[in-house]
């Protein structure tokens, strides 16, 4: 939490796509143990920020530090190996594999990838079962991913990120595409797993109710800038924020 040195620090990040400035000098600190929500209208640059932090995009200006070490411009795999994992708005899974096989690959990526041993070795399978149980997916082990419902795919995407035992997890709209009945179940499961694993998390979210209920801190994006930052109750009561994010002033 604040007071401790930041786990991730973005300093004056700037990038544009043609005439659109997606990050116009973004500076943000993420502190260990917190659950930071990023909100903002479509096109505000929220996903771009995640892309900059994970090496998918290289900023034209600015730096990204992880535990004080420069990670700007490193490729995604190098940043992943340093402890930053990511789950996507559209789950990025291996669609020709089962739920278990997806997770086994993620676990092998963390440890023993180059070893001459079966992917399905007993210890790895046990770890996969534990992780799936943590996310309530233990009954879906042998389900082909292509046949799994969206809520399951979302959770599996997160499970694969958690399998890397990350220091920092970046989630892009964890409840998008999930039905409103499923939404809170998914978030309850997710947040419980994150707290159990003690993973610092940044999540992009559109649903204000989800942000109010789960986030420790919130940062509001608008046109590539941070409009406001602070406790959800305070920030979401700010008329400027409401006008920007929801489109109306309460």
């Amino acid at each position: 939490m604040e007071g401790a040195p930041p786990l991730l620090e973005a300093l004056d990040l700037y990038i544009r796509f043609g005439g659109v400035v997606a990050a116009a000098g973004i500076s943000l600190q993420v502190y260990p143990g917190e659950l930071l929500a990023i909100i903002g209208p479509n096109g505000a640059g929220k996903t771009t920020f995640l892309n900059l932090c994970t090496g998918y995009l290289r900023p034209e200006r600015g730096r990204v530090l992880l535990e004080g070490k420069e990670i700007t411009g490193l490729p995604p795999r190098a940043i992943a190996r340093m402890g930053v994992a990511r789950a996507f708005q559209i789950p990025q899974l291996f669609t020709e594999h089962t739920v278990e096989e997806n997770l086994l690959l993620a676990l092998a990526a963390r440890k023993g990838f180059w070893k001459w041993s079966y992917l399905r070795d007993d210890s790895r399978r046990q770890r996969a079962r534990d992780l799936l149980a943590l996310l309530g997916l233990e009954n879906l082990i042998s389900v082909p991913v292509a046949e799994a419902p969206e809520g399951v795919r979302k959770l599996l995407d997160v499970a694969m990120a958690l399998a890397l035992e990350p220091k920092l997890l970046l989630l892009d709209e964890p409840t998008s595409g999930v039905s409103s009945e499923e939404k809170f179940r998914v978030m309850d499961t997710l947040v419980r797993a994150l707290k159990t694993q003690g993973v610092t998390t940044v999540f992009v979210e559109h649903d204000m109710e989800v942000v109010r209920r789960y986030a420790d801190r919130v940062a509001v994006w608008a046109e590539g800038r941070i409009l406001a930052e602070g406790k959800p109750q305070e920030v979401l009561a700010n008329p400027k924020v409401l006008a920007s994010v929801v489109g109306v002033e309460e």
């Binding site: 020709e96 594999h97 096989e101 086994l104 041993s117 992917l119």
Partner: protein
């Protein structure tokens, strides 16, 4: 032992026995196994969603490595084949360092381009390579024994079969390792592999080098089996043949390309005899039938049988 493995063992036994009754089949099977090795290399790449139209380069390189060596040093067949593999691994590493950056049509066409450069070198440097006439490959010793051509051909088939079984076993294991499984995952989602921290290019390079080694071994085997090497071994049509065989046999399992190669060589041999001017028509029709009715290749016939067997024995 699993039913599938038993079935494969049965096929291998039949293959081993048939030349005892029909000696001419030994040569056909040796060539089929040689091409099967190259097609297996192609199949490995296809598992990762990569197609190469240039593995004739490695097939030709393996064959010429054997031919050049025998011109100056009378090495034993086992060492010659090892040399062919090393040639393929070295060339594969060199080309793979560059090619592993590319995907899709660029990967396929760059492979083709490399192989055609090699083909042109073989065809044009007459004084070194014998040009389009090629080079004669004298019969080498086999495990220290000097054999006449007929006996050598028969013994070579059993050596090829043994090598195929050993490599098939090793590669089946490899495909179940995390790297092997990542190869299949590469076809569906390279982005996720990167975000898992997996060095995708290194995986592709490793598999490419293995595939080049397999193709070169196949080339070396074909070189000593035929007793003559020509630039056509590196021509694009040869590379296309390997892709054809891999798809015909199927990429779902290691035996697939070998089944494809056996079917291909048998169809070609018989069609060439009985349909001399339309044998390609038969090959084309076979491929169409496979695509329509066995999209997973001939390999799935074994899978189907296995499934039927399981259902039949299920309580």
């Amino acid at each position: 032992m699993r039913q599938g493995s038993l079935l494969l063992l049965l096929i291998a036994t039949v293959l081993a026995l048939l030349p005892l009754f029909f000696p001419w089949l030994g040569f056909v099977f040796t060539l089929a196994l040689a091409k099967g090795l190259a097609a297996l290399g192609i199949a490995l790449l296809l598992r990762g969603g990569l197609v190469s139209f240039g593995h004739g380069l490695y097939f030709g390189a393996g064959a010429y490595a054997v031919a050049f060596t025998l011109r100056s040093v009378p090495l034993d067949t086992v060492w010659l084949l090892l040399l062919a593999v090393l040639t393929g691994l070295a060339l594969g590493l060199l080309a793979g360092l560059f090619l592993s950056r590319y995907r899709g049509i660029f990967f396929a066409m760059l492979n083709l381009a490399f192989s055609m450069v090699f083909y042109a070198l073989l065809a044009k440097f007459y004084h070194v390579t014998g040009g389009t006439d090629g080079i004669r490959v004298p019969t080498p010793t086999l495990l220290g024994l000097t054999l006449d051509r007929t006996l050598f051909g028969e013994a070579l088939f059993y050596l090829a079969l043994l090598l195929t079984l050993l490599l098939g076993w090793g590669l089946t294991r490899f495909l179940r390792t995390p790297v092997g499984e990542a190869l299949a995952a590469l076809r569906t989602n390279e982005v996720r592999l990167e975000y898992l921290g997996i060095p995708v290019r290194r995986v592709i390079l490793l598999v490419y080098v293995i595939s080049a080694g397999l193709a070169s071994l196949g080339g070396g085997l074909a070189g000593v089996a035929v007793g003559h090497v020509v630039p056509e071994l590196a021509f694009w049509v040869t590379s296309g043949e390997f892709v054809y065989i891999a798809i015909l046999g199927g990429i779902g399992g290691v035996p697939g390309p070998f089944l494809g190669a056996l079917a291909y060589e048998l169809i070609r041999t018989f069609a060439f005899k009985y349909l001399a001017f339309t044998w390609q028509l038969l090959l084309g029709a076979t491929m169409l039938l496979v695509i329509f009715f066995l999209p997973g290749g001939l390999w799935t016939l074994l899978g189907e049988r296995r499934l039927r067997g399981r259902r039949a024995t299920a309580p």
